[in-house]
């Protein structure tokens, strides 16, 4: 890795920034969505589910295209963001983060939903009799017992973000040092004479980052499990 160029380091830095931002900012919404899907029953619930899964079903380029239309300068949201907050999404790493967040959202929600659904409701009842409000019981019982699922969702969404190409390319473009994330750079290098070596280095770097993420999640999981000596009381 001694031979990595500045541009490659910049792409890696950018990818990490985008992936972490995407996961961090979509996590709260994913938890709310996971909760609603796990605990509420309402007619047409599968429509919400479909909506959540849309970014997975649609080709990423289409998702990117829709984001471009939604957040572009000509759109209501885009113009509002720019005039009120001075935020521009198109050709910006923040746009790339939004693309990653949207594309990774279903991967984040599913395991969280499953985890919430499988927490034994009798434990929640016990917490309530011990003085915990529903919110308190969620934070002190449901949340820690759902840690493996939440972690799982984060790992999936993070990994997906590391490889996100189509949607990012549409909204953020591929500007070296600015929005050219690792996948975009790999793609560019694949077609460049002499770019093969760079592409290979970047693939290796992605793999290493992914391995680090797995290791981290594995350790966190083991730590949590040791804390609880297994989750079956």
């Amino acid at each position: 890795m001694a031979t990595m160029s500045d541009a490659e380091w910049e792409a890696i830095r950018l990818t990490l920034l985008v992936a972490l931002t995407a996961v961090a900012f979509s996590l709260p919404l994913a938890m709310v969505t996971g909760w609603v899907l796990a605990k509420w029953q309402f007619p047409g619930k599968f429509l919400l589910e479909t909506a959540v899964h849309l970014p997975l079903v649609l080709p990423p380029v289409v998702t990117g295209y829709l984001l471009l239309v939604t957040l572009g300068r000509q759109s209501f949201i885009g113009s509002l963001l720019e005039s009120q907050l001075g935020l521009r999404m198109v050709f910006d790493w923040k746009g790339a983060a939004i693309a990653s967040a949207v594309v990774g959202f279903p991967l984040l929600v599913r395991p969280i939903r499953l985890a919430f659904a499988s927490v034994d409701p009798r434990l929640i009842e016990a917490a309530r009799t011990l003085g915990a409000s529903p919110r308190d019981a969620f934070l002190s019982i449901t949340l820690p017992l759902s840690r493996p699922g939440i972690l799982s969702g984060c790992v999936l969404a993070f990994a997906r973000s590391m490889g996100e190409f189509g949607a990012t390319m549409m909204i953020a473009g591929s500007i070296p040092g600015q929005t050219r994330t690792v996948p975009l750079m790999i793609y560019a290098m694949l077609d460049t004479p002499g770019g093969q070596a760079t592409a290979e280095r970047l693939v290796v770097a992605s793999v290493i980052i992914a391995a680090a993420a797995m290791l981290a999640s594995e350790l966190l999981q083991r730590y949590a499990a040791r804390q609880a000596e297994g989750s079956h009381g």
Binding site: E125, T129, G131, A228, E229, G233
Partner: protein, 212 residues
Amino acid sequence: MSRESHLQFSAGTKYATGFSVELAFDAAPGITAIVGSSGSGKTTILQMIAGLVTPLRGSILLGSRTLYSQTLGISLPPEDRKIGYVFQDYRLFPHLSVEANLHYGLARSPDQKLELIQVAEKLQLKQLLKRFPRSLSGGERQRVAVARAVLQSPALLLLDEPWSAVERELRDTMATWIESVVEQLSIPAILVSHDEASVARYAQKIVTLDKQ
């Protein structure tokens, strides 16, 4: 006998399976036992008192507080009832140590009249405080469940088979201690137990639930 902490229960409910139960009784401070055969609805009664099963009719009053009233449309959420509940199936929190389990209700209680360490000592749990529920024996789990419910200094204590998994000697220790706690806090305790000896010895009143 202070009216302030008197339980007046008169309610009934019905499960989807068709089973229905109905009961009316009063419980003054001290231990009131509910006895009845397996499946007669004892646990269901306790769950109605705790707010975990909603009655279909009637009312439940604790001192001057209305816990449930069909006519008034009142049904306090469980966390506002200040009721300590020892579940028949314990329901310890698997991700918390014994100490954290005991601390759970204590930390959420406005008036902490009992000390964690002293209660743990009484119920022979002191050696287990750092352990997790998974590695406890049946009787140990049961004692943690009792300690956890009592430690929140409740206004009413529900005990569903609280000593079914311990030997006679420990059972007497537990019963005597609960008797003293109930007296100290001046609250009613509802005891469900198939152990006739302890019911006869410790209950001031016995309510019998017939299978309907």
